[in-house]
């Protein structure tokens, strides 16, 4: 239960379906981060973001949304700043990171610094394994994230990500 954990200031949410090969990149990214046992970082896994995740992200200073990308990306991954947007997807099953941030501000008056981590994949079949390209891209994304963690100032951190 989230509330019983040691207080973390950064949250990483892995989004995707590990039963669809490279769609599991978001979860695999978070799993690797958990293995590093980094202080002050909490991890969550989601098939899709849902409205109640607004309450969750409101409890953190910084939030990362890690997900697989269908598009090829320079360096195999991309980390971008994520800003809140007043937008609603037609089903309750799935909401965007931007909408979750909007709801966090509207409902809980919290506006965490947020980033999306897109990791490129290319195999979406019904199996539970990453393609070779996805594995390479995952390693690159982890290295990029580690640099961010080891950076001492917020300005430098932003520079690394962007």
């Amino acid at each position: 239960m989230q509330e019983l954990k040691t207080k973390a200031t950064t949250l990483i949410i892995g989004i995707g379906n590990i039963g669809r090969n490279d769609d599991g990149l978001g979860w695999d990214f978070v799993e690797k981060i958990e293995e590093m046992q980094l202080p002050h970082i909490a991890c969550e896994y989601r098939y899709q973001l849902q409205i109640e995740d607004a309450q969750l992200v409101s409890q953190y200073e910084t939030v990362f949304f890690a997900d697989a990308s269908h598009q090829a990306l320079d360096n195999g991954f991309e980390i971008k700043e994520c800003s809140l947007v007043d937008h609603y997807y037609f089903t309750s099953h799935s909401q965007s990171p931007e909408t979750i941030l909007y709801l966090a501000k509207e409902l809980y008056q919290k506006e965490p610094i947020a980033y999306t981590i897109a990791i490129a994949g290319n195999d979406w079949d019904f199996e539970n394994k990453l393609s070779e390209i996805a594995k390479e891209n995952l390693d690159k994304a982890l290295q990029g994230f580690e640099k961010w963690v080891n950076c001492s100032t917020e300005n430098n951190k932003s520079a690394i990500l962007l």
Partner: protein
């Protein structure tokens, strides 16, 4: 010139559907259909798998009500392991019930606050930018926060007993694989980490009071909108009380006459058949003795409150009595009363959760029992959306040879089509033009049933919902797609 309107996708429902409305030469509604065109598959996928996989496998039908499929399949698989519901240990039964009440509580909260509340707060024909939870969050912040917190409370109950909020596992054939700890139990009672169960009860009463106030101001609309006669089906216990986990099946017609008299769930095949239509993957269950045309029944909260004699918890029963006062304690056939009934069921679930959390059997006791294996098992529960049937047959090695699922939403298939027809005839036929607001009223009528279209067809992939308008020559002349 005659025309055909299509609404696609139907918004704020679980899954994807499509509505077509056919107009005649004079612009009057000639016919209407609620199409479900997703692929149905799980009944076939599960064949050849060992029986004990079923409760884990079939809950992947849905991300909203996996607990319902987990428990219905488990009740069936218990029988294949030789254990009937009454033979399950008290600890196993109570843990399953706790999970089920948590599931219904969170599912009803999701529907009322996230999906239905914009219709009530902003009007049936409100502009598109108002018809979502984001607008509710902006203009009714306290209500939105309560909705999110209540949904999360139910999800945390599921997580405590099953390990995960979605697709967790509690059951094994003949029982459960774990209890909960005192710390996990106290998490829901003491209010130190999350709002307590007492707060959930109070908040649910507040939301019911909101609904009563809404009813007072809008009674004519609630009474008349998508009103039509039908049968009503639900489960009751031996005392005739509402029971969501186990009991007998009872149905009443639109006037309250008994048409299915407390039959054993094991004999459902003697009484129910399923029809098909060439314009939808979703089947049409009906009572054999009444026939296809008039033998279909509504299921879910309104139907359950119509068929039961009482609710076994005091606060919810008091609210049911107040709710029935408006119909003179007769059967309610007005679609929009589903919303009110859903809230009363939330209160019932919250009361039951509180009782169970204070029951020492949750913390320790016998987990699993074994019996003489059988080749058939039938599990029926009342899922959030209505009566849910899982039926499995296995060979002597325990491999599944046959599976039949009658998912709650399929029982409401005819009702949703009737609701669409009502709106088409009463709202769209009456006007020379067709507005977004009118089309939204079609969705309002469907949404009241809280359909889970993915469950109902065991969907693969994704389909958006379209509204199409056809002329008398069956030519598409207009379409609106929502995605």
């Amino acid at each position: 010139m005659s025309r055909k309107i299509t609404i696609d996708p139907i918004t704020r429902v679980e899954g994807h559907g499509r509505v077509t409305i056919h107009l005649d030469d004079y612009g009057q509604v000639k016919d209407s259909f609620f199409h479900i065109v997703e692929f149905r598959g799980f009944e076939r996928f599960i064949q050849g798998h060992p029986y004990w996989e079923a409760p884990v496998f079939v809950q992947r039908l849905c991300g909203i009500c996996p607990v319902s499929h987990h428990l219905a399949a488990s009740k069936a698989i218990d029988q294949i392991a030789g254990i009937d519901p009454k033979d399950l240990s008290p600890t196993a039964t109570k843990l399953r019930r706790l999970m089920h009440y948590g599931q219904v509580f969170q599912s009803h909260a999701l529907h009322f606050f996230y999906l239905a509340s914009p219709d009530l707060l902003f009007g049936f024909d409100a502009p598109v930018d108002k018809r979502n939870i984001v607008a509710v969050a902006s203009e009714h912040r306290d209500l939105a926060i309560k909705g999110i917190t209540m949904r999360r409370f139910g999800q945390e109950i599921i997580k405590a007993v099953a390990g995960k909020r979605i697709h967790g596992i509690l059951t094994v054939p003949g029982g459960v694989h774990k209890t909960i700890t005192e710390t996990e139990r106290d998490y829901f009672l003491d209010g130190n980490n999350i709002e307590s169960i007492d707060t959930m009860i109070e908040w649910t009463k507040e939301v019911i009071n909101f609904m009563k106030g809404y009813h007072e101001k809008n009674r004519k609309q609630l009474d008349e909108f998508a009103f039509f006669p039908s049968g009503h089906l639900g489960m009751v216990n031996d005392q005739g009380e509402l029971d969501l986990y186990d009991g007998k099946l009872r149905a009443k017609d639109f006037e309250g006459n008994i048409i299915l008299n407390d039959i054993s769930t094991d004999s459902y095949q003697e009484y129910f058949a399923e029809a098909v239509a060439n314009w939808s993957y979703m089947k049409f269950p009906y009572l054999k003795n009444i026939g296809r045309e008039k033998g279909w029944n509504r299921v879910g909260p309104m139907a359950r409150l119509n068929v039961c004699d009482r609710i076994p918890t005091p606060l919810a029963e008091k609210e049911r009595q107040f709710y029935l006062d408006f119909s003179g304690h007769k059967i309610i056939n007005s679609t929009m009363y589903y919303h009110w009934a859903r809230l009363i069921e939330m209160l019932y679930c919250a009361e039951e959760i509180k009782l169970l959390l204070n029951d020492p059997d949750l913390l320790s006791g016998e987990l699993v029992r074994q019996g003489k294996p059988r080749n058939k098992g039938i599990g029926i529960i009342e899922a959030p959306r209505g009566t849910l049937t899982h039926h499995y047959e296995v060979d002597d090695k325990g491999m599944i040879t046959r599976c039949n699922l009658i998912v709650s939403t399929t029982h409401n298939n005819d009702a949703m089509n009737e609701a669409v027809k009502w709106v088409a005839q009463h709202v769209i036929s009456r006007h020379g033009n067709i507005t977004d607001g009118m089309l939204n009223q079609v969705e309002v009528a469907i949404r009241a049933y809280d359909p889970c279209l993915s469950c109902a067809t065991q969907a693969l992939g994704q389909m958006s919902l379209t509204a199409e308008l056809y002329n008398h020559k069956a030519e598409l002349i207009d379409a609106r797609t929502k995605n």
